[in-house]
């Protein structure tokens, strides 16, 4: 709410997109940014179904704070692309009510950080009404927007809501990584009869990913609840989603040079969670590391570890599973601290080495020693960063 100065964010975005991103299919047909893929998905679904409409702050004439809805207002008009007053609880409630009455609203939060002002509508109303009405009132709404850490926007604008929303029965929670994910999953979300929370990433918006002809076609829809193996490997399983997939893939590249082959699983869907794919991979690699940008406690990694514990996959493990997560602090503003508060490829690589060496009990990482520093300590157990 406080920070809605798009030009500032855009500057940061441009600066950040200069960082390198690895894409798994460098040879595939056509590079499309995640932003354009999302735009395509919205456009195609609005053309396909008259009941689909978009609402949020500045989504219409201004094309959206991050330009995801570019051109849609011109094409579909005021009736289907609605600029709302600045009240998250208001327009989230409007979206839920419109879904009650038979429309398919796509509700954009300028960032998911502001969705907390409307969380009652998302959880108490959207997620529960189908159940509370005994199946009489479905709520086919999509809440979407950038989630998690952006760059240089500090504690109140850099928070991952993956764990928050995936905690709640009644919601489906998707977290796309690539352009293909973004398009196929958003289309699936809009068509889904249940409420979907769709967690995008601000930094990934401007990143181009190769998209196949199949993914570019207007009937391309991905199944909800299916993970994607981004990279096959036999030594360790890395489970991640969204922007963390990029971190994991970079770490996997780095480790490949050391002869360690990582299997990288991009979850795509946090709820329902595709545990079968994880279990199959663990049965092959016998080692598990989870990577996420959110905080460690009660996070996605925690959930995956718990599910492993409760399943036969536990007996496949040769070493304890490890979580690499965001630091357990509100996001600091200073760039040096911000970098350290998020998982980086070297953190993932270090965790993988530790897990493969089965010396997790002494693996520690401190954010105090400067960039790129990963230390193995035997003491200072009060540090809780990457486990």
């Amino acid at each position: 709410m406080a920070l809605k100065s798009t030009p500032v964010l855009f500057g940061l975005l441009t600066r950040l997109s200069r960082r390198t991103f690895s894409t798994s299919k460098a040879l595939a047909s056509k590079p499309v940014t995640v932003r354009d893929a999302l735009n395509q998905a919205l456009d195609e679904e609005m053309a396909r179904d008259e009941t689909v409409f978009l609402l949020g702050e500045e989504v219409a004439q201004y094309d959206g704070a991050y330009k995801v809805s570019r051109g849609l207002w011109k094409k579909y008009g005021d009736k289907r692309v609605i600029d709302t007053p600045i009240t998250e609880a208001g327009f989230a409630g409007i979206a839920v009510g419109a879904a009650f009455a038979g429309l398919r609203p796509v509700c954009e939060f300028m960032t998911f950080n502001f969705s907390m002002q409307a969380i009652d509508h998302v959880i108490n109303s959207a997620a529960k009404t189908f159940y509370m009405s005994a199946g009489a009132v479905p709520v086919p709404v999509v809440f979407r927007g950038p989630n998690g850490a952006a760059a240089g926007v500090a504690a109140q604008h850099s928070q991952c809501f993956g764990a928050w929303y995936s905690h709640c029965p009644g919601l489906k929670v998707l977290m796309p990584y690539s352009s293909e994910d973004a398009k196929g999953l958003l289309k699936a979300a809009i068509r889904d009869p249940d409420p979907v929370v769709f967690l995008e990433d601000e930094i990934l918006y401007g990143v181009p990913f190769a998209m196949s002809d199949e993914a570019l076609a207007d009937d391309f829809v991905l199944p909800i609840g299916k993970a994607k193996v981004e990279r096959a490997g036999q030594h360790v399983t890395l489970v991640c989603a969204g922007k963390a997939t990029d971190t994991a893939l970079q770490a996997a590249n780095q480790l490949a040079g050391e002869g360690i082959e990582c299997e990288v699983i991009n979850l795509r869907s946090l709820r329902p969670l595709d545990f079968d794919t994880i279990a199959q991979s663990v049965a092959k690699t016998h080692h598990l590391v989870t990577v996420e940008q959110g905080w460690p406690q009660s996070g996605i990694g925690a959930e995956i570890c718990a599910r492993v514990m409760e399943s036969p996959a536990f007996f496949e493990l040769d070493a304890p599973a490890w979580r690499v997560s965001g630091a357990d602090v509100p996001m600091p503003y200073a760039r040096s601290l911000e970098t350290l508060a998020l998982p980086r490829p070297p953190d993932v690589a270090a965790a993988v080495r530790a897990v493969l060496a089965n010396r997790g009990e002494c693996f520690m990482h401190t954010p105090c020693l400067g960039e790129g520093t990963v230390v193995m300590w035997d003491s200072l157990p009060e540090w809780e960063h990457t486990h």
Partner: protein
């Protein structure tokens, strides 16, 4: 932006006019010194004198009524044209509501149900508004609007089954008592968190507006306490800016649980906010069923032409807030008695009907007895009915049951097969 500024200008002008019409606005002495400002946010005259406005700058918004306390029509031109049968039906439903409240309240006290909320004192708002609407209009209720449900044709039996959460509860035993809902009757399932129904109602109204040749509107009920929630303000603003076919119906019953309206807000109640948000607004005597009927019927005409309306119906919550409340802790018996007797909406409508020769003491006795018997019978039946099938617990979380829940259901099935003698399965519905 130019377009938007134009719209704002039109709205502000109509708002100003509405304010003038609704209240006898005592205007500050405006010293014109050169036309009107061109600010995008306000087209207003300049003055060169500091003058703050406060609640005393305006006369209180008047309260519209048709009958006096004795059920006599004050101005015959205002008497609504409702046929005899409909009037008697409205009154019978009031009696039915009173009897249901009395018996279900007691049944909570006896531990038969976990919770209940009575509707005493607000029967006039329920019947007056429900009768003025089309049955196709969509209702978003707060929780104290059972009269509207009865008027729509939901039976006492259905309501009692909901409170008992048995196998015939249309809500499958999912919600706490009094959280009714019926798609067939265009009543959206009640949701507990206060005022969330308001923006949702506006969203539903927007959906109706988008339908070709729409002739339906949404009515959203809320209390004066709920009007303090942020959601209420958001809803007022969105109803106005989206030009939605909605009637925002505030039941100002004087108390939000124990908080009196004098502590709930400053200024002239909820109605005073209406013109400020650009809503057509009226204040009405909620104990006068005919006045509520007239107000809602006129509001409906505006609403279906996409002019959102705010109604503040003044009343008094005669009962406790809920079974979790004892209102004697914060208000006097004398105060309650005044509203329960002299200003009772039920009594006023009865006196009106008697004056017309539609009702008498004998009909009253008969009606009360029938109403009571209906509730007692419904309760006895409800207690005998089985509970919903245990599998219902896992249904409707998602449109299609996810594999994880399917798995749990199968596990439970196997478990019950093996250990059925340890569970009271005969109390639950079989497949």
């Amino acid at each position: 932006m130019a377009l938007r500024a134009g719209v704002t200008f039109v709205k502000l002008n109509s708002l100003r006019q509405a304010t003038r019409l609704l209240s006898t606005h005592t205007r500050p002495d405006v010293c014109q010194n050169g036309g009107t400002s061109e600010f995008p946010g306000a087209k207003a005259p300049y003055v060169n004198e500091i003058k703050f406005l406060n609640e005393n700058s305006y006369d209180p918004i008047p309260i519209y009524r048709v009958m006096d306390s004795n059920g006599r029509i004050i101005d015959s031109r205002e008497e609504p044209n409702i046929d005899k049968e409909s009037l008697i039906n409205m009154y019978r439903n009031m009696i039915q509501l009173n009897q249901m409240d009395k018996i279900l309240y007691e049944s909570q006290r006896q531990g038969r149900i976990s919770f209940y909320m009575t509707n005493y004192g607000e029967e006039g708002i329920h019947m007056g508004s429900a009768a003025a609407l089309s049955p196709r209009d969509l209702v978003f209720a707060q929780y104290r609007e059972v009269g509207v449900l009865l008027h729509r044709g939901i039976t006492v039996s259905e309501l009692v089954n909901q409170c008992y959460g048995n196998c015939e509860d249309p809500g499958k035993g999912r919600q706490m008592p009094v959280h009714y809902g019926s798609k067939q009757h265009n009543i959206v399932t009640i949701s507990s968190p206060l005022a969330t129904q308001l923006p949702q109602a506006v969203g539903a109204a927007y959906a109706l507006k988008r339908m070709p040749n729409n002739d339906r509107c949404v009515i959203c009920y809320f209390g004066e306490g709920a009007a303090s929630e942020g959601d209420a303000h958001a809803a007022f603003n969105f109803a106005a800016t989206l030009d939605c076919p909605i009637i925002l119906m505030c039941r100002n019953n004087g108390y939000a649980i124990s908080t009196p309206s004098s502590e709930q807000y400053r200024g002239d109640g909820i109605a005073a906010r209406g013109p400020a948000f650009g809503l057509h607004t009226i204040r009405v005597d909620g104990t006068d069923t005919l006045a509520v009927y007239r107000a809602v019927a006129s509001a409906r005409d505006l609403a279906v032409s996409n002019k959102p309306v705010l109604i503040e119906a003044m009343s008094y919550r005669v009962g406790h807030h809920s079974t979790s409340d004892d209102s004697s802790a914060y208000r006097s018996v004398e105060e309650i008695q005044k509203w329960a007797k002299d200003e009772s909406p039920v009594q006023k409508l009865r006196l009106y009907l008697e004056g017309k020769g539609y009702w008498d003491a004998e009909a009253e006795t008969q009606c009360v007895k029938e109403a009571r018997d209906t509730v007692v019978r419904a309760m006895q039946d409800a207690e005998k009915k089985k509970l919903p099938h245990w599998k219902e617990m896992l249904e409707d979380v998602y449109y299609d049951m996810p594999p994880k829940l399917q798995k749990q259901m199968k596990q439970m099935e196997k478990h019950l097969e093996k250990y059925q003698e340890h569970y009271p399965l005969n109390k639950y519905l079989n497949e």
